[in-house]
């Protein structure tokens, strides 16, 4: 606690902010080995480093869930607020008024965003709050051990939960329906794309929703035999051993060419179909974006890339026409009306 870290701006080896990659790191992760959320955290570190951002100029936010634990695993030098389940948007909205020059990065889960947090999510999008809103989407509640989330595939079966009856909520379509100004989708196992999209999202003025498919290696098993491990060669007696979680490696994919498709097998044998948006796709047409998403839903594809962007709009804080000085540096002289005004006020009262 007493060692002195280099002040931002001090001479240092690596990026133009004078900081090393280490200055962007967080504490060691306590998530499962192989969890997609971990590699997203790494890419946040990489993106901020490569963009030469000063960590002190970033605010981190999250809700509750495995995903929402992530902000402790990156940017230790940034202020962070790990709030309530589903309520990250409101806390971020208020906090970003404190110093409008700062960047906001929020991390949420699909349960956090699409179940309990649906209302706040839709409204933070609608307000175009200037922040990156990452959904680490695994289709389940990780931290509470594997219930369906609202983005779970219809027909998915989980032990104890039965069969999911509902169509999944599509975070990207929801964002566009509520007039988001930046919407993208990626896959945690595609670090290059995640990083590039993160950079674009951070640079965007306004809400930037990043729906990142991030498989839960522990609970999202489409296989009906939940956590089943074959005992012996004959596979005769699969066993349900809830408290044993074998160490697994994260699924990483090779680069996909724009326009190309890739089927990725998850740990449980289920398959996701990824498709990268082609170079001819124009992400500035809301209309095309909706069409593309609707088609992808029918094709059961996960289309990745920058789906929609509307760069010109002013963000939420912009519309408030705030003073240049960060609001939280204003003093009594700026904030308390002058003494003589009290007379006027009393006269206004009759």
């Amino acid at each position: 606690m007493t060692q002195t870290l280099p002040m931002a701006g001090a001479a240092a080896p690596t990026n133009t902010a004078g900081l090393t990659r280490k200055d962007y790191q967080g504490s060691p992760s306590t998530l499962c080995q192989g969890c997609g959320h971990n590699s997203i955290a790494s890419q946040i570190v990489a993106a901020c480093y490569e963009m030469n951002l000063v960590p002190e100029k970033i605010l981190k936010f999250s809700g509750i869930g495995c995903s929402s634990k992530s902000p402790t695993y990156f940017l230790n030098r940034s202020f962070g607020f790990n709030g309530l389940h589903g309520r990250m948007p409101s806390v971020a909205t208020g906090a970003l008024f404190a110093d409008a020059s700062m960047h906001g990065i929020g991390v949420s889960g699909d349960g956090d965003t699409a179940s309990i947090g649906m209302g706040q999510f839709k409204h933070v999008v609608r307000r175009n709050v200037d922040m990156v809103y990452i959904v680490e989407n695994n289709g389940v509640y990780g931290l509470t051990k594997g219930q369906f989330s609202a983005t779970a595939e219809v027909g998915l079966e989980l032990k104890k939960q039965g069969t999911n009856q509902y169509m999944p909520i599509d975070i990207c379509m929801e964002s566009i329906a509520s007039n988001a100004t930046f919407v993208a989708r990626s896959f945690a196992g595609d670090p290059k794309q995640v990083k590039e999209l993160l950079k674009a999202a951070i640079a965007h003025n306004g809400i930037a929703v990043l729906d990142i498919i991030s498989p839960c290696v522990t609970f999202n098993n489409q296989d009906n035999a939940y956590h089943s491990y074959a005992w012996g060669k004959d596979h005769e007696a699969p066993l349900h051993e809830l408290s044993f979680i074998p160490a697994r490696d994260e699924i990483m994919i090779e680069d996909i060419e724009p326009g190309a498709e890739l089927e990725v097998e998850l740990h449980d044998g289920s398959v996701v179909k990824l498709k990268k948006l082609g170079n001819d796709y124009n992400p500035t047409h809301r209309w095309e974006a909706l069409k593309m998403l609707e088609e992808a839903q029918r094709e059961n594809q996960l289309v990745t890339g920058l789906i929609y962007v509307e760069p010109a709009k002013s963000s939420f804080t912009d519309t408030y026409n705030l003073v240049d000085m960060p609001l939280n540096r204003l003093t009594e002289a700026d904030l308390r009306p002058a003494h003589e005004t009290i007379k006027m006020v009393n006269e206004m009262m009759f």
Binding site: M1, E56, G83, P89, G94, F97, N321, R336, M349
Partner: protein
């Protein structure tokens, strides 16, 4: 005619909501106020927008007792739908003014009845366009009443001039209609009731305001920078007043803003945003009423445990659940004191009048930052939405207290060796840094989960315990900072009375009546929770302390018993709720259940003049 009754009666106007009568009623109120006579106005309105019965009661009282009077001495009946009950509500010997187009019989003989040809008179006012006749027509009863009880016409003009922002045309059109009423009454009515107004000088230097406006203004003088809110009666006008007055009082040359007011999508978000802003170092607040407060429960617990400064105004209405959204109560006390799951206790301010709404408006922001905790301010509909006489608002007499905040320089001085939740000063209040602090060791991570003194995540039992014990110590410290109670001791008092909030005026009136009956009492008005030493000492001093409040369960009594078990047997509860503002009547009767006056009435003290009719609880049936 009975003996003249001067400056000591109440007037109720029964009308239809959406009919614009509030301008008329406000005009009467303001004119009487300008005559120097203590006066209050209470609006009893329905929870809808148009077409339902609504009542406005004005009480004049030369002694300054301005709580609700259960007797209606003068009743003005404009609404056919409520005519019968309005007629019934007039106290024996009272006066009844009614619109003569209501074709219903006046069946009582114990009162004086005056029919008013309102429709006819307004049609005769050529300058009033036909689409405004219903609206301006209300001025007719103002004029008739003015003539019959003696409201000064000049003061009526002043009131209209104020209302219409000094624009002559509407002022004169309305004033001329008032005069038409005056003229007609002078020519056609004979005074047969005993009620008269006579000028006094008891309102000199006073203002008239409602608590919500006062609270908003107080917050502005407290430097509020962020407010998020969601509409709800009776709190809406608090936030809307911020929108009204911030642009005036915080105007800058460059046209830029030092504040933001956000209408959130609901109350969860409203408090969430305010917490975000408070955490960010802004003076942040939200305002709501019961249902909204219930929705804020989880976030309130987070702010308590993560130690985030934020101010929450709860303008109480009667519950539980949606209850009666347009009726008053002091029913959120016990809930607020322990809001949220797990061990918690809230710091609560209890303003007693409009002046204190202003004062606590800025003090609450100081306290929030000083104590790094949510500060709840419990007002109520009666205080918040009705017009009250008040001392003029006073400019804050202390500089802003921004609490324990470490700047870049401080952190540098400490060589980064600080802990967000370390109790350096032994008062339970730690130091914080603000986002945007550029020192590389300033940042910390806020969470509602277990954390140690350095804000690091922990599940260690003894650390969790230690942090919780420090929060308890902080609550002790809060006692030194919150507003002390107001104590009014009477020599030889047989009983102590403990009250809080908007019941003050009614309690004082009851005390005066009891004193006249021969029962001397001392009074303490509690202004904050946690209770400090003075509260304990007051209870210790009296054999019985009667806790008076406007709710069903005696919630202040509950909290006092919890905090002072050793004194609990002395504490008696007088609690009543029906959504109407407190009246001296039920308070007096309640107190008499516990404390009997000395046999002989004290020498010379005259009986309080206000006549008691056989008033019922819940006045209107």
């Amino acid at each position: 005619m009975n003996q003249k009754i001067v400056n000591e009666f109440s007037i109720t106007v029964g009308t239809v909501n959406g009919s614009g009568s509030s301008t008329a009623n406000n005009t009467i109120l303001r004119a009487i106020f300008k005559m120097g006579i203590p006066v209050s106005g209470k609006n009893l309105f329905p929870s809808n927008i148009q077409g339902q019965p609504t009542w406005y009661t004005i009480r004049v009282n030369k002694d300054g007792f301005l709580g609700r009077d259960e007797s209606q001495h003068i009743v003005v009946a404009i609404n056919p739908a409520s005519f019968a009950r309005d007629l019934e509500s007039v106290a024996p010997g009272g006066a009844f003014f009614y619109a003569d187009d209501i074709k219903q019989p006046v069946t009582r003989t114990d009162i004086t009845a005056y029919a008013m040809p309102i429709k006819q008179l307004i049609r005769a006012q050529a300058e009033v366009p036909s689409n405004l006749r219903d609206l301006v027509g209300n001025m007719v009863y103002v004029g008739i009443l003015a003539q019959m009880i003696g409201i000064d016409l000049e003061k009526i003009h002043a009131a209209l001039d104020f209302h219409f922002k000094h624009r002559e045309k509407p002022t004169m059109m309305n004033f001329n209609t008032v005069k038409a009423g005056v003229d007609w009454a002078r020519a056609n009515l004979t005074k047969a009731d005993p009620f008269f107004l006579e000028p006094m000088n008891k309102t000199d230097g006073m203002i008239m305001a409602d608590g919500n406006t006062a609270a908003a203004l107080g917050a502005i003088y407290g430097g509020v920078q962020f407010a998020a809110w969601y509409p709800i009666t009776p709190a809406t006008s608090l936030a809307e007043s911020l929108n009204d007055y911030l642009p005036i009082l915080r105007k800058r040359e460059d046209g830029k803003h030092t504040y933001a007011v956000v209408q959130a999508e609901d109350e969860l978000a409203a408090l969430g945003m305010s917490i975000g802003a408070g955490w960010g170092g802004l003076r942040a607040m939200t305002s709501t009423s019961g249902p909204g407060l219930s929705l804020m429960t989880e976030f309130a617990g987070l702010a308590y445990y993560a130690e985030v400064p934020v101010v929450i105004w709860d303008v109480q209405r009667i519950g539980p659940s949606t209850g009666l959204p347009t009726r008053t109560s002091q029913g959120d006390l016990t809930f607020t004191a322990h809001i949220g799951h797990g061990d918690s206790h809230s710091v609560i301010l209890l303003p007693g009048d409009v002046f204190e709404c202003f004062e606590f408006g800025w003090k609450a922001l100081d306290l929030a930052e000083r104590l790094q905790t949510p500060i709840f301010v419990l007002s109520d509909l009666d205080m918040g939405m009705n017009q009250w006489m008040s001392k003029p608002f006073e400019y804050p007499n202390t500089p802003m207290d921004r609490g324990k905040v470490l700047t870049e320089k401080d952190i540098e001085g400490l060589k980064g060796n600080w802990g967000r939740y370390l109790d350096k000063d032994g008062d339970g209040i730690p130091y914080r840094t603000l986002p945007g602090n550029q020192h590389p060791m300033s940042a910390y991570f806020t969470r509602g989960t277990g954390h140690d003194e350095y804000a690091k995540y922990t599940e260690e039992a003894h650390i969790f315990h230690r942090v919780m014990e420090r929060l308890k110590l902080k609550h002790e410290t809060a006692k030194e900072y919150v507003p002390a109670p107001i104590v009014r001791e009477t020599r030889g008092a047989e009983v102590g009375i403990l009250a809080f909030g908007s019941t003050e005026s009614a309690v004082e009136e009851a005390r005066a009546q009891l004193a006249a009956d021969g029962l001397k009492s001392s009074m303490m008005r509690v202004r904050a929770i946690p209770f400090n030493k003075t509260v304990e000492k007051f209870i210790q001093k009296y054999e019985q302390v009667i806790v008076v409040e406007m709710n069903r369960d005696g919630q202040m009594h509950q909290l006092l018993c919890m905090d002072f078990p050793a004194l609990a047997p002395k504490l008696k509860s007088v609690a009543f709720q029906d959504g109407l503002p407190a009246s001296a009547k039920w308070i007096r009767e309640g107190i008499l259940k516990f404390a009997k006056p000395a046999k002989s009435s004290p020498k010379g003290k005259k009986k309080v003049a206000v006549k008691k009719t056989s008033a019922k609880k819940g006045a209107k049936k």
